[in-house]
């Protein structure tokens, strides 16, 4: 419900705001094929015949990427279904979103453990099987698979169930559909009837205080899911083609259900079936390491629990793709990715300008001033005896000097494509949303929606508002959401953000600061539990991005909290790709959570410039 516009119908995308953030589930294959840009998505890794976990925040583009792999989209991309299946690597991708209320039903928690395990796997199997039947039925032209093959397929699938257990369901389905005439729909109905039985059992069992036995059919991996996927290969054009089961929003599955999925993966049957599991990292509950430990590891390093007490490990059992990592690992790649997507949207919207950099121009006067400051800083480098490389010196000081020059004159402008990409902090939606708002603001009241660019003042207005919302309105929204026991942590978080914002502002605007562009912090020492909770809340609501760094002393990695760059306009900070960090003691952090003024005063007094700053780690040491 975050979308500010209507679901585009087929061919209507061009009539809407080009930056509309729409749920991929509502988009038609034509729109997905037109809007999706492969570059820098790591889609090639996902296309490989390997089990894959795709970690990423909400709005990072995971669902769009998975839907793009569905047969109808790939047929558009490859100019024909048969052509796609002749391409390398061919696969049959089933999009299986885990919607709220599908699997995590309250009655499931009241089952006896063994029954719960059997039923949960059966439910998941039926869901995947229904998605497969639906995919074969609706994602292909009616003649793509001949009727005889479809009938054979349906009979094979039927034979995977215990004959006696499935008999009553078969009888029920036969009343409505004929296997002979409409095999795939017949299968869909069969899975539907079985699903109905499970839900009736769930309800009746709790009403009978757990005394009922489940008498319907059940299915496991080796006796149902794997042979089902193998049966697909018997269909025309499908020989040797693996099925990719793309489980989206797997964070919505219960812990037991996630364990079932992990166990499927442990079987290493990639020849026939690969699982592509997309989830928010924080919502996946089956990591071997506890939360405190795993937050210092990369997602790709993590082991996941399977049934019976074992583990699956990356890269041995699966590949890990962290969608959020792109900005951290390569800002230039992330900028290129956003540019590709934004340009595609301009093109689809049929706007006169197809280059997002032209569409979102920066403030020309400020750009000119920055160029001049860069020249001056380069000269200063000469005068100071050429410390280090000139490029590094200019990079380090020029932008800060611009902020210092602007202080007391005018507000810093954040207009311009590059600034906006940085402000998005690595999440695509964080770029598209303000674009949507500024486009909407600019075209409202104008006769034509075909504009050539958004003027910097309009961009700025929206960006400030968007930033202010994050620190004010969004905190209010969270306050309403949180249970009373968590409210003190939220107040502390709000104060902490103000403390850091004000400290970083002072440092950035101090002409004598050797390291002015601070934007993150680390904590040296044991953090008390109440402050840990504040930091967790900050990460959960994306005010901080949690990263790790190697300690200089060796011996592991430490947590590193980077502010969300969306906060830059409201605090007048520099968003452009620099993450100088301060090191805080738990005591300082506590003050920062309670009294912003005292914290800033204390830190500014305590941070003599000069020798204590490390040029290479960009860290201010205590």
């Amino acid at each position: 419900m975050t979308t500010p516009d209507a679901a585009p119908e087929v061919g209507r995308v061009e009539a809407l705001n080009p930056f509309v953030v729409e749920s991929p589930e509502k988009l038609q294959p034509q729109d997905i094929a037109r809007l999706f840009v492969e570059a820098y998505t790591r889609i090639e890794t996902i296309k490989q015949r390997k089990h894959t976990f795709i970690w990423g925040s909400r709005g990072s583009g995971k669902s769009m990427m998975l839907r793009y792999l569905e047969p109808k989209c790939q047929a558009i991309v490859h100019h024909g279904t048969a052509e796609f299946f002749r391409s390398k690597p061919p696969f049959l991708a089933l999009y299986c979103p885990c919607k709220e209320g599908y699997f995590n039903k309250t009655e499931m928690n009241m089952l006896e453990p063994l029954t719960a395990r059997i039923l949960t796997e059966h439910m998941l199997n039926l869901y995947v099987a229904a998605k497969l039947a639906d995919c074969l039925h609706s994602q292909f032209d009616s003649g793509f698979f001949d009727d005889a093959s479809k009938k054979r397929f349906a009979r094979t699938v039927l034979s995977l169930f215990d004959r006696a257990s499935i008999a009553s369901s078969v009888e029920e389905v036969n009343e409505y559909v004929s296997l002979e005439e409409n095999s795939l729909v017949w299968l869909l109905k069969l899975f539907g009837v079985e699903n109905k039985k499970i839900n009736a059992y769930l309800r009746n069992n709790v009403l009978r205080k757990g005394e009922l036995s489940y008498e319907g059919a059940t299915s496991g991996y080796h006796d149902f899911l794997l042979p089902l996927m193998q049966a697909v290969r018997e269909l025309p054009h499908m020989e040797g083609i693996p099925v990719y089961v793309m489980i989206d929003d797997a964070n919505r599955l219960t812990r037991d259900q996630q364990t079932v999925v992990n166990t499927w993966i442990s079987n290493r049957d990639q020849e026939h079936v690969c699982f592509k599991v997309a989830a928010e990292f924080s919502g996946y509950q089956t990591f071997r390491n506890n939360r405190e430990l795993f937050s210092t590891l990369k997602p790709s390093d993590l082991d996941l629990a399977i049934e019976g007490g074992g583990w699956i490990e990356a890269p041995h059992d699966y590949s890990g793709v962290d969608v959020d990592e792109l900005y951290t690992n390569s800002q230039s790649d992330y900028i290129a990715k956003v540019k590709g997507i934004a340009n595609r949207r301009l093109e689809v919207a049929n706007l006169p300008v197809k280059d997002i950099e032209q569409f979102l121009p920066p403030d020309a006067e400020e750009e000119a001033r920055l160029e001049q400051i860069k020249k001056d800083t380069a000269e200063e480098w000469e005068q100071r005896g050429r410390p280090g490389r000139q490029k590094d010196y200019v990079y380090r000081y020029a932008t800060a000097r611009l902020f210092q020059w602007l202080r007391d004159k005018k507000k810093k402008s954040y207009a311009g494509f590059t600034n906006m990409v940085h402000l998005s902090s690595g999440v695509l939606r964080g770029f598209l949303e303000p674009c949507y708002l500024m486009y909407d603001e600019y075209v409202s009241g104008r006769e034509s929606r075909h504009v050539e660019s958004i003027p910097p003042d309009v961009q700025n207005k929206v960006l400030f508002r968007y930033s202010e919302e994050f620190i004010l309105a969004d905190i209010d929204k969270i306050r309403k959401e949180l249970p009373p026991e968590a409210k003190s942590s939220l107040e502390a978080l709000s104060t902490l953000l103000n403390s850091l914002g004000r400290l970083f502002y002072e440092r950035l605007h101090d002409p004598d600061a050797r390291e002015a562009r601070l934007f993150s912090f680390t904590v040296r020492g044991q953090i008390p539990e109440d402050i840990q909770e504040v930091l967790r809340l900050g990460v959960r609501y994306r005010y901080f991005q949690l990263r790790t760094y190697s300690t200089k002393e060796g011996g592991g990695r430490e947590k590193w909290y980077v502010l969300n760059r969306r906060l830059c306009p409201v605090f007048q900070l520099d968003p452009t790709g620099f993450e100088g960090r301060i090191s805080l003691t738990p005591d300082h952090l506590k003050i920062a959570c309670t009294n912003a003024e005292k914290f800033v005063r204390l830190r500014l007094k305590q941070s003599p410039e000069s020798s204590q700053l490390d040029l290479f780690s960009l860290t201010e040491e205590e």
Partner: protein
């Protein structure tokens, strides 16, 4: 549906048993922090009798600052029923733990069903201050255990509500007994019976990410002021796309159920339906009846962070009485 102002009710003879000259087999009420928690019990006639009674409470509320008020209400209800010859037991459930909530109610209903289900013909259920999830679960249990009973719903509306009713969000969950049946090939549609809790509606919608929302406005409401406030609270939500509004009678169980049945019939072929009753208790019972007839519909409950225990409602306005029968 029978409606009478509480003041008139006090002046009249009072509430009598469902079948004249025969005590009700069971009386259920929920003791709560609201002043109207004991209003129905206060309106029982002097000749009213119930064989057995269950007083339900949420342990978190009991343990909170308003626990004393809840305890006093429970004692008052229990004393009133004991005076009328009933054997009263307390059921302590939880609004945070759905399993505990269910088992507390289930245990109490089974324990009170000593004579056997087939003899239970008349149950009076004071729905006034049950939280909606507990009310739905109670109805499911009554349906399961007393198939032949007439259930009389008693409800007292307040004079007014506080500035806010609940705040915060903990989770959404399907209500036990209403898992629904989801067709993987269909998108999800959310049917909301809305009240004054805008934030809770938004949260449910965010969690389910439905393709379509049918937002119900209670009209008639139990008070004309409530209708205006309901419309005002939901204005922002209605301004969003993919949301269609409809009206439902918030003051009548059967009429609400009929309205929901129409909606379900129209949309069940195209969507997996999730029903979120967030309006009056009468409409919540209406939602129960509609979902009971349509097992494919899931009922969802949004667990708030906290309730406005000090000022949830004030006064007592009207007494509503309506019977539902399972007809077996």
């Amino acid at each position: 549906m029978y409606k009478v102002s509480v003041r008139e009710g006090e002046q009249a003879v009072g509430i009598d048993s469902i079948i004249s000259d025969r005590p009700d087999d069971l009386y259920l009420a929920c003791a709560s922090y609201e002043p109207r928690s004991t209003a129905v019990t206060d309106l029982l006639s002097s000749s009213y009798q119930a064989e057995r009674a269950i007083v339900y409470m949420n342990e978190e509320i009991l343990g909170s600052t308003c626990g004393g008020r809840v305890d006093a209400a429970a004692q008052k209800i229990a004393a009133a029923l004991e005076r009328r010859g009933g054997k009263v037991i307390e059921a302590r459930g939880s609004w945070l733990d759905p399993q505990k909530q269910f088992e507390a109610l289930q245990g109490a209903i089974i324990e009170q069903n000593l004579r056997g289900a087939e003899f239970v013909r008349s149950v009076s259920l004071d729905a006034t201050t049950f939280n909606r999830e507990a009310l739905l679960v109670t109805l499911v249990l009554l349906r399961a255990h007393f198939k032949r009973a007439v259930i009389r719903i008693l409800y007292v509306s307040p004079d007014d509500h506080g500035d806010w009713l609940s705040r915060g969000f903990r989770s959404v969950r399907s209500v036990i007994g209403f898992p629904g049946i989801q067709d993987p090939t269909l998108p999800t549609a959310l049917i909301v019976l809305s009240g004054f809790e805008y934030d809770r509606v938004v949260r449910v919608a965010n969690e389910y990410e439905p393709a379509k929302v049918f937002l119900g406005i209670g009209n008639p409401a139990t008070s004309p002021n409530f209708l205006e406030r309901n419309k005002e609270e939901q204005k922002l939500f209605l301004a969003q796309q993919d949301i269609e509004s409809f009206e439902f009678p918030a003051d009548s169980i059967q009429s609400c159920a009929v309205r929901l049945q129409e909606l379900i019939e129209a949309h069940a072929p195209h969507y997996n339906l999730v029903l979120a009753p967030m309006s009056t208790k009468l409409s919540t019972v209406g939602a129960y009846l509609a979902a009971e007839q349509n097992p494919q519909v899931q009922i969802t409950y949004c667990v708030p962070g906290e309730y406005n225990v000090d000022n949830y409602s004030t006064g007592t306005k009207d007494l509503y009485t309506e019977q539902i029968s399972y007809g077996e």
